[in-house]
Symmetry: C2
Amino acid sequence: MTVPGLPMVVPEAGLPARVRIHEVGPRDGLQNEPRTVPTEVKAEFIRRLADAGLTTIEATSFVHPKWVPQLADAEQLFPLVAEVPADLPVLVPNERGLDRALALGARRVAVFASATESFAKANLNRTADEALAMFEPVVTRAKDTGAHVRGYVSMCFGDPWEGAVPLEQVVRVCRALVDMGCDELSLGDTIGVATPGHVTALLTALNEAGVATARLGVHFHDTYGQALANTLAALRHGVTTVDASAGGLGGCPYAKSATGNLATEDLVWMLHGLGIDTGVDLGRLTATSVWMASRLGRPSPSRTVRALSHQE
Amino acid sequence: MTVPGLPMVVPEAGLPARVRIHEVGPRDGLQNEPRTVPTEVKAEFIRRLADAGLTTIEATSFVHPKWVPQLADAEQLFPLVAEVPADLPVLVPNERGLDRALALGARRVAVFASATESFAKANLNRTADEALAMFEPVVTRAKDTGAHVRGYVSMCFGDPWEGAVPLEQVVRVCRALVDMGCDELSLGDTIGVATPGHVTALLTALNEAGVATARLGVHFHDTYGQALANTLAALRHGVTTVDASAGGLGGCPYAKSATGNLATEDLVWMLHGLGIDTGVDLGRLTATSVWMASRLGRPSPSRTVRALSHQE
């Protein structure tokens, strides 16, 4: 249901004028997809996202194909989208992955650390410090080539094994990533349990540890419906980089139709209502998510996509 | 997935210490339900909601059964729940409905006005002013009996026919309801299009027109995923009455699995994370919504219910 003039644009004092959306749909959104998505469909997805105005589109991951079979076609995909007019960061877990990415001309890479021992063990089979040690040469070499490096930090707010994560534990990992040269951090609420006061407290603690807000992005999951409220808290703190996934792609492992990632469309609806510039055309973006949903064979979990498309 | 210690409690400055949740599930949540829900199931739903700690539970509606067949059993239901330890407001559209409600001992009633002409016409077959004129004797008589009167105002932010709704139009209707004696107003974002700056602007405009924040409740729909972010904006403005529907009951007419109302569980997750007292036991509330979902034969759209129950 598209109604001209909606959302009504009413700015709120103290919020940024512009937000850069870091679109993670093609990577984070698809990585757990059980059926193999054809490489050409992924490339078309990325092209359409750029057409919709997204300027940062995380394209794929150069992890070992054994760990993420869905993204095993990174070498085939990346050349197909090289001409897309957007920044196309890629995940690199180690030096081998970095080599593969750089060989294809990647100019933005991302490493993925964990704020908790349990998740470092589960995701990387290392202690948190071992994982940081693994990333250090990756970041150094990437920076030496002039690449932009993002550091993901998972489980910044809660962890399914450890519960609430102490702020100082997150700060320590973030500080280490900045010290090794990361240009930007993405603070992940991997299980979606954060609430707005917790977001503000973590951002404040990071500032106090010398990590500037300009270096911080937020990556919220909507598992408990909190992602957009948490985003609002981050915007109030001055954050201008927000991760989101077109159509809300990227489900929880235990709930097929529940969302994992904050849906880009729901984010754009709020930002545009607040008069915050994103450069995104919401109609085109929604059409892209509807198209992708048809390729995946199930409806988008994004509420805005459903409302605008009558998709059911 | 229940994890002890989550959400982590981190208060945020400037928010209220306590919020009263006005639970609308049994009325707003069920009113469009196509299959008739047995009266005893409705009564049990209300009892379980009270057991979960909700203190205001909108029980039913004394509209003409022709308009809302699902709530045609109001006369049978109300006596079944009379002993439930909670306030049980009921909708009354006119003097006939008020008579029926008062005869059964209702002590809290609600009238429902519209901020737009289009919705007044569609919902009440009257102009907005004719609807107000219809409510005036209802409110006066209810107040004379000592009842508490809530005034719902629909379409406070956007209207599917008229688009964005000017603030002054909402203020005029709110002012009229307060002048005729309403104790409390509920500002409805009936189609879920509001964003946080718009919420703040409307609350400010109402204050400037002499309507105190203490008299204002908010009623957000999650059609575009904005309900909780909008609630956060309202809390920052000082609002302490928030409408929500257990399990997110009350769907959009055009999207069966999309939510209409803000889910009480998603709201409680945020409020408890912020250290705001609600009196609600989230585990019991979730169990109630899972039980009700089993009665209705489809999963709850609340993300928190899904996450906590693995319901799919």
